[in-house]
């Protein structure tokens, strides 16, 4: 394992009273990278972030940030900033005071403090709200105050713990773009925790998918999408996720194998069909329609059709797909390279 990366997590483990938190977490993050820790709730992604932040101390393993071993260092010394899920704004302080709190604590001269604060408010578009208390702000504005507080110190590493989960869907999209732009403008390294795979896939350079306290797969969004290493990844990533079919249902595969196929690779069969399914639901999204299909030996089969498509629920549909688009998994759920 090379120790030259900007952030290195080396075989980190953390347990609470014997209960597993995270285990064998090894990860390298390059400077300027946007890394998303993705996984279902309880998978240990927030724990990993808190260990990295120094809010928890690992039972084993080492953490290196920017060449320094920070494993036993308190949070304040790790030279990083953090955006909390709840934003953790100080309710009795105004926006300006919230943003300047850290600099005041560190006794940054007043002139520099005000300059940096103005700059941070410029970037986050919070001008005119300096004197408001957090309770007088909307959810989106509070979120931006939290961002401003995180960027004002100019730390190279910024941790974000589900920063968008308290926003409505439309705002979430907008802020997603803002964060991404902020990151590339300021050249920050961001470690971003989310349970929303769309968020992770659309923002991150590298996605770390976790399950039960372990890392399941690390890779670029494309890699996770097109080469899932396990059935768990296959079923977690993508909207809709990959359909999994028991090998026995298809010719040319054994009953021990599980076959995965993406919705966009499934076609309605014109002559030779490979499966016959029942329509369970129709989801019209404007540009395309997703048709949910049921088959007793398959899970999550979805057919993607362009535009508006009408299929009656309960209707039988014959479908087919090409061998080259299939993903094959062994009985343990591990990816098997295509023959």
């Amino acid at each position: 394992m090379s120790k030259n990366a900007f952030v290195v997590l080396d075989n980190i483990g953390k347990r609470w009273k014997g209960q597993l938190g995270v285990e064998h977490i090894s990860l390298e993050i390059e400077e300027g990278e946007f890394v998303a820790l993705l996984g279902p709730s309880g998978c240990g992604k927030s724990t990993t972030l808190r260990l990295l932040a120094g809010l928890e101390v690992p039972d084993e393993g080492r953490i290196i940030i920017d060449g320094t071993d920070v494993t036993s260092m308190p949070a304040a010394k790790r030279n990083l900033s953090m955006v909390f899920q709840s934003y953790a704004l100080f309710p009795h302080l105004s926006v300006a005071e919230n943003v300047m709190f850290g600099m005041k604590v560190r006794r940054v001269p007043k002139k520099e403090r005000l300059e940096k604060m103005q700059n941070a408010l410029d970037i986050t578009g919070l001008h005119g709200l300096e004197d408001r208390k957090p309770s007088a702000l909307s959810g989106g504005q509070r979120q931006r105050v939290a961002l401003a507080r995180a960027i004002v110190a100019g730390r190279k590493l910024c941790l974000m713990d589900e920063p968008l989960s308290n926003l409505d869907a439309k705002l979430r999209n907008a802020v997603r773009k803002d964060i991404k732009k902020l990151q590339s403008d300021l050249g920050m390294t961001i470690v971003y925790v989310t349970h929303d795979q769309t968020e992770a896939m659309s923002m991150a350079d590298k996605v770390v998918l976790m399950k039960d306290g372990r890392i399941e797969q690390v890779g670029s969004p494309e890699q996770l999408y097109s080469e899932p290493t396990t059935t768990f990844v296959a079923e977690f990533v993508g909207a809709p996720p990959m359909a999994l079919i028991q090998g026995a249902a298809l010719d040319g595969f054994t009953h021990l194998q599980t076959i995965g196929v993406r919705a966009e690779k499934i076609r309605v069969a014109t002559n030779n069909h490979r499966m016959t399914c029942t329509v369970t639901d129709c989801e019209f999204l404007g540009a395309e329609t997703f048709i949910g299909l049921a088959h007793e030996q398959a899970n999550g089969l979805t057919l993607k059709l362009d535009g508006k498509a009408d299929m009656k629920i309960g209707m039988q549909v014959k479908i087919t797909f090409d061998d080259q688009d299939l993903h094959v998994f062994d009985p343990a759920g591990q990816r098997v390279d295509p023959r």
Binding site: M82, A88, H92, F101, G102
Partner: protein, 297 residues
């Protein structure tokens, strides 16, 4: 406006008044009416068999202001309030901060601090009587170990008031601690973490974040502590009876004495009105002053 909307509005108004009425009736009956009645009776002379009650205007008040005991009692009560209010609040806050931190036996500590509150004041006073008793008392016994002379804490004018003050602080701190503890638990943990990340130490966090966020509680406790400094006199009956030579006499005890020992109701009424007036003014000032610096969530 349509008839339906009018009807609805009236219905809501009636509903509101119905909700208010139980408290309004009880308060009028047992607080407002007695206050007014007291004010009224403070304007009349004390009736004897030979001289019936007559209207004397402010004479009862001028009597009081001319009475040296009154001024001693006022001074005593000012010292009593001036020491017990800030001291018990400070101790309450310190205990709450400690009992709220990550210590082992947290439950035990909290219970121990709260015990004095559970005891009736009379019982607590008897307990302290045992502490203070010259010769036999715990304080003297401990003092004797170090060869200190016996002190009659409650029996000499120099120490009597202070002995009373200590009992009050001991009794009240635990009670106020509960309020602080409750308020502390509403402060989210991630505020602590956010300030940790910014490099704020424990003291900075307490001073810049915790104390301002406790302001509503502090205001509430301050008003209560001040009212208690007038109200809480049960222990005087057990410990000193206001003595020696009025050294530990407090306003409410004096009022009781006037009314039920000397049977001078008009003077007691005048005293009561004065106390109500002062308490009202101080509470109003406290609210106005602290409101400005208080953040409510």
């Amino acid at each position: 406006m349509s008839d339906l909307a009018k009807l609805e509005r009236r219905r809501r108004a009636i509903f509101g008044w119905l909700l208010l009425s139980p408290a309004a009736i009880l308060l009028s009956l047992f607080a407002f009416y007695p206050s007014v009645a007291t004010l009224w009776s403070s304007l009349f002379s004390r009736g004897t068999r030979r001289r019936p009650t007559e209207f004397v205007g402010t004479e009862n008040y001028t009597d009081l202001f001319a009475d040296p005991t009154f001024w001693i009692v006022v001074k005593n009560n000012l010292i009593y309030a001036g020491v017990t209010v800030p001291l018990s609040m400070f101790i309450a806050l310190s205990m709450a901060l400690w009992a709220n931190s990550k210590i082992s036996a947290k439950g035990f500590v909290r219970t121990a601090y709260f015990t004095p509150t559970v005891l009736p004041m009379i019982a607590a006073a008897n307990l302290w009587l045992f502490f203070y008793t010259p010769g036999l008392g715990v304080l003297d016994q401990i003092g004797a170990l170090f060869g200190l002379p016996s002190v009659n804490w409650l029996g000499q004018p120099e120490t009597a008031l202070w002995a009373i003050i200590i009992v009050t602080v001991w009794k009240e701190s635990g009670f106020f601690m509960i309020f602080y503890l409750a308020a502390l638990q509403t402060i989210p943990v991630d505020l602590r973490e956010a300030s940790d990340l910014e490099g704020a130490g424990r003291w900075t966090y307490t001073r810049r974040i915790v104390l301002p966020m406790l302001m509503p509680t502090t205001l509430f406790i301050a008003v209560n502590a001040m009212i208690n400094s007038v109200k809480l006199i049960d222990h005087l009956f057990i410990l000193t009876k206001g003595g020696p030579s009025d050294a530990s006499k407090l306003l409410l005890y004096y009022i009781w004495e006037q009314a039920f020992a000397f049977f001078d109701a008009p003077h007691a009424a005048a005293l009561t009105i004065l106390v109500l007036l002062v308490l009202g003014i101080v509470a109003a000032v406290q609210f106005i002053l602290m409101e400005r610096r208080t953040h409510y969530q």
